[in-house]
Amino acid sequence: MWTQFLLQFWILLVIALGAAVLLGRYIGTVFAPVGIRKTDWIGKLERRLLLLLGVDERKQDQSWVGYSKSLLLVNLLFFVGGYLLLRFQGSLPLNPNGAVNLDWSTALHTTISFMTNTDQQHYSGEALSYLSQTFVLGTMLFVAPTMAFTVCIAVIRGLANQPLGNFYADFVRFILRILIPVSFLFGLLLILLGVPQTFGGTVTVTTLEGAKQLIYRGPIAAFEVIKQLGNNGAGFFGANGAHPFENPNQYVNFIQMFLMLLIPMSLPVAYGKMIGSAKQGRLFLGVMTLLFIMMTFGMAGSLLANPTAHGQELRFGQIGTILYSSITTAAETGAVNAMHDSLHPLAGLIQLGNMMLNVVYGGTGAGFLNVLLYAFVAVFLTGLLIGRTPTFLGKKLETFEVKLMAITLLVPPFLILVGTAVSMYVAPGVGAISNPGYHGLSQVLYEFTSATANNGSGFEGLGDANVYWNVSTSFALFFGRYIPLILMLAIAGSLKAKPAVPQDEFSFKTDTPLFGTVFLGTVVLVGALTFLPVLVLGPIADWLTM
């Protein structure tokens, strides 16, 4: 089994890395600041379109404050519109299955969850109308990853000492140039491979034994492709990627894993291109890949030693389950092709680890922002050790940046640990636990980790379809997403405003193997120190007492 695992793993990794390098260079080219970008014919069309929408990129460079405001404004529009449409889906068109209105807390949680690129679902997909699935949530699957992507690009521009750019232009450009074409191409491929795409509604069939069976269908392929490409992870159905319509065979399974990895892997390459040092981009990509390999081997170790079909689908095989479960938590997608609650506790440990570190590629944009954050922290720690002002790409990291870094770094553990602790203390929190013993703590911990890291998968036994869980995880979703985005923009804005320190032989070099090691050490130490105690009480105790 190990040979087969290694074979499939390396093939997937090489293909994904190859495609990501190409995509990363493309992103680096088309998202270069207006002043230095060459305009191709698509660029000319794009400029016309943007002017029609009232956006003149050449004249409307934004400060970090302006960029943040525009971003939050667009998010607010989608929040309000999405919430209302879900609340009243029952009386709206495209509802052949007679789905009813969502209650306020489910609609609130679902809207926040989808707009934060998390797609944690406290309803079952079968409970939504086609209008909600396609028009409301389907649009959010494109919009949500774009938010973190635009921030990531603006931050990179700031680090490269260039104007941050215009939010609206970046927003439209990413969707137009990357998400739509790639989604269309792979969406077609998914349909050819058997994923349904129909507005035909549920059919009733007569089974061989004469019973009536309802078969839920829908425009699944369109949903599926952007769910993976944008690291969203929402299930069209309750069972998500384990459902045979969402993921009918090994080929579709492979494509889905590839799509999850594609954009997160491409961003370090784009970064290298945009700051003019491919070497630095490769270093980050290398460290992330190393972490990914270690985590996935851990997953393989735990599941190959304890093979089972429980909570799994035969068509993917043990290896398809291992790779998917690791990738979906590494790239913060949250799609599942097996029920994570039922997997071995050590598999759960790896999944939690992936989400807590949130740099093992991480989701579109958000993952690479975390990488940059950890890189700042690594530089800062090194600066403390040798007693010099830390610099990153020639810019000094001073009190203001370090304060924001510290807050950004502390927000996720705060949300995860406090959320878990409170839920273990109050009745509706504990009451939701479905598995006895230490695994119960893992269920609660997983829910908050997944919400904060914008992953969205779950230990689905947890009875989370109620007001307490909808509201409490909404906090984790919201702050886990927007605080890091805005603070990273602020750091970039502040760094951009500073004069560059001339580089000399004593400058911090951030493209060497030495820095790679310090960076890796920072990621592992900060992650491990913060979360080790709760991991010991949850999955590790669960494993030791089995």
Binding site: L53, Y168, F237, F245, L314, R315, S342, G437, E460
Partner: protein, 173 residues
């Protein structure tokens, strides 16, 4: 504000209407059957989908995997029992008893629920364990039944239960 509204409307129209509509159109043109959910017809009537498990309980058909949901009408889900949950052992014993075939030890997939509750496949081992019962019920030789399994499975280690049962119904006894 004007920019934000215009951009929001444009993106929503593109991603929420044009994209799914185009994809649906192409799907209908290229592979209408797959786009409609790989439904299976027999004598002009829909009898199921190749991709979706249906419940089989009678002795003359191959039985599928245990499911945590009602396969006739339910939403998809697993049972979400933890590996460490004592309930799991009880459930496994129960399923084993239900699906026990001539005292043979059953493979794992016959004793535990699938991820979706609609796994359309069973392992070759589980299929083999049911050969004797089906051969007796249908007055077929065991070899004939085994041949059907091999045909349906191809190179895979698993076999589609609905398609296999259709083959059974179509084969002369």
């Amino acid at each position: 504000m004007k920019q934000a509204i215009r951009v929001t409307v444009f993106v929503t129209a593109l991603c929420g209407i044009v994209f799914p509509a185009l994809l649906t159109l192409f799907g209908q043109l290229l592979v209408p059957d797959k786009a409609a959910g790989s439904l299976v017809q027999e004598n002009g009537k829909f009898i199921g989908s190749e991709l979706i498990a249906q419940p089989f309980t009678s002795k003359q058909y191959f039985h599928g995997r245990p499911s945590a949901v009602d396969q006739l009408a339910g939403s998809s889900a697993g049972d979400n029992l933890a590996a460490s949950n004592p309930e799991l052992g009880k459930k496994m014993a129960e399923f084993a008893k239900q699906n026990q075939v001539d005292g043979a030890s059953l493979p794992d997939d016959a004793r535990v629920t699938s991820g979706s509750g609609f796994d359309p496949h069973i392992s070759l081992d589980y299929a083999r364990a049911q050969v004797k019962r089906i051969a007796t019920e249908r007055n077929l030789s065991r070899d004939a039944v085994q041949r059907l399994i091999d045909q349906e499975a191809g190179n895979n280690q698993y076999v589609n239960v609905l398609m296999l049962n259709l083959k059974l119904d179509r084969s002369p006894s």
